[in-house]
């Protein structure tokens, strides 16, 4: 099991109110699978993704990445796990706009301990995988939405992670670019990456490659197909 | 480090170097000696402060020193 989620609860505290956002999530994601978390805005998809990435702590339950409980690890190890195994793609691309495409893609590798030369090699490979090599020296802020998203893909790929988490990746893209993005996902899936996409975009309902749609509503998985 | 930063640091180092050389090459000894010579010639070592000198405000306790009323700022005399 690549990602194993057990009895996961996440409750936010607002003043004196308790807001349960995730209620008893159980999910097993196998290596190489492509999962589409589908649900309306506010159903808890982003919260779930941050818990998987270890960017947030569950109120109870746990998340295991390759058998390691990411939510329980001390920061140094959780960060290392995240750096090695998880690539993230965000709705707002979240690039450093004043840096070039190429420079943006180096960021995840800076704390890796690699030499600058090795980093450059990996960056170049990621750039060509994401089909953005030709814009390498352009400032990220000057790119179109589609190009920014491809830069974000390159950045997610640069450390060669097994898992790619995407949060509403097409929310800020037009239809053509969304389709291009889906093509890239297909390619990544073919490379054997485990992919989790949180989205409410109907384009993801009929993918032309094997994928599992998991509908979420009100912090719960409505009906899951993964329990074997 | 990237090149523009390296050049910036080099410029800084150069400026520090210029300052250091000015400091080291300054004729400290000659200057202090001249000062000592003038004090030992005239037996006067108070600073030549450019304040209008008013004889009525003479510091009676310490004729060498500025008057109390004039001590409101440094070295005033």
């Amino acid at each position: 099991m690549m990602i194993k989620i057990e009895n996961l609860y996440r409750t936010f505290h607002h003043d004196d109110n308790e807001v349960p956002v995730l209620k008893n999530i159980n999910l097993n994601i196998k290596e190489g699978e492509c999962i589409v978390l589908k649900g309306v805005s506010g159903s808890g998809k982003t919260t779930l993704l941050s818990l998987i990435a270890g960017l947030d702590k569950p109120s109870s339950g746990k998340v295991l990445i390759d058998g390691e409980p990411i939510s329980k690890l001390p920061d140094l190890f959780a960060s290392e796990l995240r750096a090695k195994k998880i690539g993230m793609i965000f709705q707002h691309f979240n690039l450093f706009e004043h840096l070039t495409v190429h420079e943006n893609v180096t960021i995840p590798l800076i704390p890796s301990g690699l030499k600058m030369k090795e980093i450059q090699k990996k960056v170049d490979r990621a750039l060509s995988l994401a089909h953005i090599s030709h814009k390498k020296e352009i400032q990220a802020g000057r790119l179109s939405g589609g190009e920014q998203q491809r830069t974000a893909i390159a950045r997610a790929l640069v450390a060669d992670p097994d898992i790619i988490l995407c949060d509403e990746p097409t929310a800020n893209l037009d239809r053509d670019n969304s389709l291009l993005f889906i093509e890239s996902i297909k390619e990544l899936n073919r490379l054997g990456k485990t992919i989790v996409i949180a989205t409410h975009d109907p384009l993801f309902e009929h993918l032309d490659f094997k994928s599992t749609i998991i509908p979420m509503a009100d912090g719960k998985i409505v009906s899951s197909y993964d329990d074997e | 480090m990237i090149k523009p930063f390296v050049s910036f640091v080099l410029v800084l180092i150069l400026m520090v170097f210029v300052m250091g050389s000015h400091y080291l090459l300054f004729p400290h000894k000659k200057t202090t000696e001249s000062m000592l010579n003038i004090t030992s010639l005239t037996h006067i070592s108070s600073l030549s402060l450019s304040l209008s000198y008013d004889e009525s405000s003479f510091n009676r306790t310490y004729p060498e020193m500025p008057t109390l009323g004039k001590m409101d700022f440094l070295y005033e005399r």
């Binding site: 960060s79 960021i107 704390p111 | 480090m1 000015h22 030549s48 450019s50 209008s52 306790t61 070295y75």
Partner: protein, 392 residues
């Protein structure tokens, strides 16, 4: 973490985001500049003063009448010599001479050029002088400030002093005193003793005051009593008192600077606070993003810390450099007026470069610590919370 990649990214960010750092660097540079200029000037003056205080005599006696100094009889000098332990009795003739039209004044000092020591000093001061020429006719040495002032008032070769008896004394400029001594000699005129007496209105047997040394410091307190018993109108000051007064002046100065500094620091913190509350949300996002991309809290803190250190050091070095050139190369225009005054003669003082490293390092600490703290504490707070913001 590989230092190479780390520094590459750090400097890249610094250079590309320079507009973000520029205002902070400029403001802190100005603060360091002001602070170090003031301290450079004061430590330079202090150094020069201390050097000259070394050759200051131990005691000064003068005659007072109703609290005002009046001419002191030379005969007191002989009486002093008879006291056991007294050495190097030296009479001084000096006084302010007013250049009437503008109320400006010069310090007239009479020197006994017959003395061997005076000869030596003079020779050392004015290297090329053929001293014999000095005694042909009435001549004087003038300080740079005096010379400039008199030249500006069309006294090119000589000046007519008016004695208290209503006579004019025409005295020629012989040489200008070397500019290195301006701190002391700027408003000084040195002339032969009897000429000085004439112009200042002293009789043959009168002087302004009398200096002497008492090498054994244990005798100083007793000496004061002895002297006071000598004449009822004898006023005595010893070097310790002078030094104490200087020390008080310095302490006082320290207080002034402390206040000045606190004001600066308060302004500075306010600016920093404003800046950080403004960029706080974007900073939060950046940190969250770095964390989401696999940076550990340690890595983020190290990055931000190093960035801050670089910004702090750069502004500090620039500030100190600027202050050095301003004070010791340009001679601190404007600020000089505050320290040396600008009411009397134009001051042409050049400051003797003095780098007091303890002062420099305390400026660094006092300035850098609040700076670093005000940047790093919020950064630390953001880093340790779970960086879910990056996702939103």
């Amino acid at each position: 973490m590989n230092a190479n990649a780390f520094w590459h990214f750090l400097t890249l960010q610094l250079v590309k985001e320079r507009s973000k750092h520029l205002s902070v660097i400029l403001i802190s540079m100005m603060i360091v500049f002001l602070l170090s200029s003031v301290l450079f000037i004061s430590s330079s003056i202090r150094y020069s003063l201390e050097e000259t205080l070394k050759v200051q005599p131990d005691f000064v006696v003068s005659r007072t009448l109703g609290g005002t100094a009046i001419p002191t009889p030379m005969a007191w000098g002989d009486e002093l010599l008879e006291i056991y332990g007294v050495s190097q009795v030296t009479p001084r003739v000096y006084g302010r001479y007013f250049f009437e039209p503008k109320g400006k004044s010069f310090l007239l000092v009479g020197v006994d050029f017959m003395e061997e020591q005076s000869h030596k000093n003079l020779q050392a001061l004015i290297e090329t002088t053929d001293i014999k020429a000095f005694f042909e006719g009435k001549q004087m040495f003038v300080g740079q400030g005096v010379k400039e002032y008199l030249n500006a008032h069309f006294y090119k070769g000589s000046y007519n002093f008016l004695t208290p008896k209503g006579q004019f004394e025409n005295v020629k400029f012989f040489k200008t005193l070397p500019s290195q001594t301006n701190l002391i000699s700027n408003d000084m005129i040195i002339l032969p003793l009897d000429l000085a007496r004439k112009i200042l209105g002293y009789d043959e047997e009168e002087v302004t005051d009398i200096l002497f040394n008492v090498p054994n410091t244990d005798e100083w307190d007793m000496m004061t009593d002895k002297l006071s018993a000598l004449h009822y109108d004898l006023h005595v000051v010893n070097k310790k008192e002078v030094q104490r007064s200087y020390a008080n002046l310095y302490n006082y100065k320290g207080g002034v600077f402390l206040i000045l500094f606190l004001i600066l620091l308060a302004t500075f913190s306010l600016i920093l606070y404003q800046r950080y509350s403004m960029v706080y949300s974007s900073e939060r996002r950046h940190i969250g993003l770095l964390r989401a991309l696999g940076w550990s809290i340690n890595a983020v803190l190290r990055y931000k810390f190093t960035e801050t250190i670089v910004v702090v050091s750069v502004s500090y070095i620039l500030g100190v450099l600027l202050a050095y050139f301003y004070v010791f190369v340009l001679g601190a225009p404007i600020l000089r007026e505050i320290f040396l005054g600008g009411k009397n003669l134009h001051n042409i003082v050049g400051f003797l470069p003095v780098l007091d490293f303890s002062v420099l390092s305390s400026i660094f600490l006092i300035y850098a610590l609040p700076f670093i703290a005000s940047v790093l504490i919020p950064v630390w707070k953001v880093s340790v919370t779970d960086p879910k913001e990056a996702m939103l």
